[in-house]
Symmetry: C2
């Protein structure tokens, strides 16, 4: 059942032949999911298509600047959709509330860079070697420029920069490649406003968020001989700080930045389950930990959920991290 990737030309042709396209970024959208979606939606509209980004949760506050009327929660906004296109996710479970609408599209496309993605659409472009889906969207839009009057502009450049800079940790993660910088260089020619994107994403931080990060870090735990660091965000901490669970991004990276820490774990106490964000620094592998709990991701960044209360989940997580640190070592 495994399908080969289609070419950008084939995907471009399919999109150019469509009248309507609904774009599906994954739940808990990040800069790459939304940036990719915005760049593509804007391009499709420029090309005269009816296009929206269909979402099922809220846009993170620091990414709101990208949504200039592209995102909607309204599943009826377009009927008889020609193309359902999922971005930065290759699994129906990452857009569960929109699944039926997605499958109702006359045809489907998946563009993604996750290693665990199994191609399941009519057209697929899945490349785990690229750092960000935004990179693939850039190549797709270049392809579209070849045979149409469409041209990328500053707004699209901002969205693609947002996608690449967030998913590469500002060009610091090991997933960063020559191509990321080549694209960034070309975005300057398109008028990217790096300062604005960066200020929006990183420098308008809610005090509640900063207080939550401080509280989580202050209560962190080191284990596995110091090689692992784990922090927990509980519902109580959200109440005390006034922050939302969508404001936990960055905590796990702070844990990883500690000298001697190889694997960092953030455990979020959701209403019915624990959600985990996992990071490895250099030689560790967190994909195996995530997979153990039915999740997935990359070796250096992965995620999963556990349907367990905190007191039962934490020891299991600790054990899984320790196992991974034994399996993959320096």
């Amino acid at each position: 059942m495994m399908k080969q990737n289609n070419s950008f030309r084939e995907i471009s042709d399919k999109l150019l032949a469509a009248g309507s396209v609904l774009i599906y970024p994954h739940v808990n959208m990040d800069g790459d999911a939304l940036g990719s979606a915005v760049a593509l939606c804007r391009a499709l509209r420029d090309l005269g298509k009816a296009s929206y980004i269909l979402i099922e949760d809220e846009i993170p506050r620091n990414l709101l600047f990208m949504d200039r009327g592209y995102c909607t929660h309204d599943q009826n906004i377009l009927e008889d959709v020609d193309v359902s296109l999922c971005l930065d996710c290759g699994d129906l479970s990452r857009f569960l509330k929109r699944k039926d609408k997605f499958l109702a599209g006359k045809s489907s496309i998946c563009i993604d860079h996750h290693r665990t993605t199994v191609p399941f659409c009519d057209y697929n472009y899945v490349d785990p070697e690229v750092a960000a889906t935004g990179q693939l969207i850039y190549y797709l839009l270049k392809e579209m420029e070849c045979c149409t009057d469409f041209r990328m502009d500053g707004e699209i450049a901002d969205a693609i920069f947002a996608a690449i800079t967030t998913d590469t940790g500002n060009f610091q993660y090991s997933n960063t490649t020559r191509q990321c910088h080549e694209i960034a260089a070309e975005l300057y020619d398109l008028g990217v406003d790096v300062r604005r994107v960066s200020q929006e994403i990183y420098e308008s931080v809610r005090q509640e968020r900063i207080l939550l990060h401080s509280a989580a870090v202050a209560a962190m735990e080191r284990f596995a001989g110091g090689k692992a660091a784990m922090a927990v965000v509980t519902q109580d901490m959200l109440k005390q700080t006034g922050a939302g669970m969508d404001e936990t991004e960055g905590i796990v990276d702070k844990l990883r930045s500690i000298e001697g820490v190889e694997i960092a774990v953030l455990v979020k106490e959701d209403t019915e389950k624990l959600k985990l964000s996992l990071r490895a620094k250099s030689w560790g592998n967190v994909a195996v930990i995530a997979e153990e709990f039915g999740g997935g991701g990359h070796t250096k960044a992965a995620g999963c959920s556990l349907k367990l209360p905190l007191e039962e989940g934490i020891p299991l997580i600790r054990q899984a991290v320790e196992r991974s640190l034994q399996l993959y070592h320096e």
Copy 2:
């Protein structure tokens, strides 16, 4: 007296003709100063020159990885030096203790990107349009490759990446250009190990430091209608977290990044006085606050001291910040 820039060819020729070169980065060296110096020193040694980086203060902990026997405090390490070359600084006051040695060189070269630099050497390349001196060193080494067997390698690539990424705030500051990304892309061909550089520079943070930052931020105070944020680092907090007062850098920037905060203040409880770090975000002026207490600085970043205990100093600081916010407003 103002001299025009020399060409990289002229500077390259001068260096290729030299037998010995001493390189002078500025005091309080940063990633750009040291990264540029290491890249150049390594290249000169490859070319058979006697070359060292002469320093007068300590290498910051997170930059130590770059020094593989290049840096020395020993002013007698080379005698009758052919070329004195200052990097990332264009002012003798930034290498005051090494000034006499610098001036004793048979000829002098300055390579810098500071707007305030007045060319004062025999050969100068000063370009305030580039984001980092490391960029200029890259161009110079390319020039050297043209007429010699010398070739840049992974170690040089790492040093140049360190220079560019630190001075551009990881490609987020407004000084970042297309050329920064073009060079970064080319560094991949040379085998740059971005992950290692980034880990060394940013991800070897002492846990004590992170705990201190969390404690200080968690206890911060907002006042002046939310326009001001103030955090205090007490001697007690240092004891509790195990951190040193030299590990407070970054706290005041975190306060400033909070939505709505225009002026951020960090108060450090030193043994006999209070030391203040002040930051303004966009329209505020902290220089006037610092001057009020006998300190100084720029409108957006300033500092001062108060010979008062905390309980007496804090109300005075609060008042001074409020006065400044009344005087300078949006």
